[in-house]
Point group: C2
Chain length 149, copies 2
DNA sequence: GGTTAATAAATAGGTAGCCTAACTAATTAA
DNA sequence: TTAATTAGTTAGGCTACCTATTTATTAACC
């Protein structure tokens, strides 16, 4: 096993901490109608190809937060007519969360705004380096997912 | 200017969002005596070589948060005897925040714990890829810093 | 079929991590 | 000397979670 240089460890840690504060800057740039956490939850429901319905439990697993956290967020979004709760016919303990038409439109809008603000960064880094960053971020996420199981 | 592929943009966004939730996992692993934000502030005061004193304004600039945010955090840390407030003799409006001996010891401990938990990730990614990630994280941070000025 | 155990979601109360508005005191500028 | 600016603090509020508990439903067991 390769010995890790202590100085590198420290610089990695510093970069990690600073990088994770980056959403701060991003947040200040966008005229968001959605709180960050709401945007993420709606994006998950939106899916890649077509909207899907997920239970509170499923959402809590994907988001890595507890059910009460999801419940509260869903309640707010339901109040704003962005999602609706459906009873799951095959298990009446569970409820399914579904995007409304309004929710679909809003998350589309917000996605485009987010993507626009990302473009500046990608141009700054260059496309190849951005792809590398994407790959490394995905692998890091995989590492933590693997650690949990 | 190179045209950015829309599908790549989306995968970048997804990786960005997931990666920024990574501290979640990290947090659950460490038996921290310090809140994350406190750890960061103490680390800054600790410096790379020897502890330094910084004003609330300086800390707020480094952390990218408002002064009241720093004030509240410093107050908590002062109550726990981890920092002390000093009047700045060259500008009596300003106060300097200084680590106590106890603060120095605690941040040393917590740093080692944090570094230990980072080692698993670095081994997973490999040292070369970890260095690449560090570089890209630093460049991203630079991009946002540059955008602010 | 009846009872107990497990599970899904919701409710209530709390912490962490910020923000803005307003205020006080000190410093600088006019 | 007065006015403007600056540094820090206080108070109230929002976002984003958490744990403990409760209620209703389902699964397991006898």
């Amino acid at each position: 096993m390769e010995k890790i240089d202590q100085a590198f460890l420290k610089s990695f840690m510093k970069a990690w901490i600073q990088f994770h504060r980056a959403p701060h800057q991003l947040k200040k740039r966008a005229d968001d109608c959605l709180k960050p956490s709401a945007f993420i939850l709606l994006s998950i429901l939106h899916g890649e190809e077509e909207p899907k319905m997920l239970s509170v439990s499923e959402l809590s697993k994907i988001l890595q937060v507890t059910s009460p956290t999801v419940t509260q967020l869903v309640t707010q979004l339901e109040n704003n007519n962005l999602v609706e709760r459906k009873i799951n016919p095959s298990d009446r303990r569970a409820i399914l969360v579904k995007l409304t038409e309004q929710g679909i439109q809003l998350v589309d809008q917000q996605r485009n705004k987010f993507l626009d603000s990302m473009k500046g960064l990608i141009e700054y880094l260059g496309v190849d380096e951005s792809k590398k960053l994407t790959e490394l971020m995905n692998r890091t996420v995989q590492y933590f997912q693997q650690q949990r199981s």
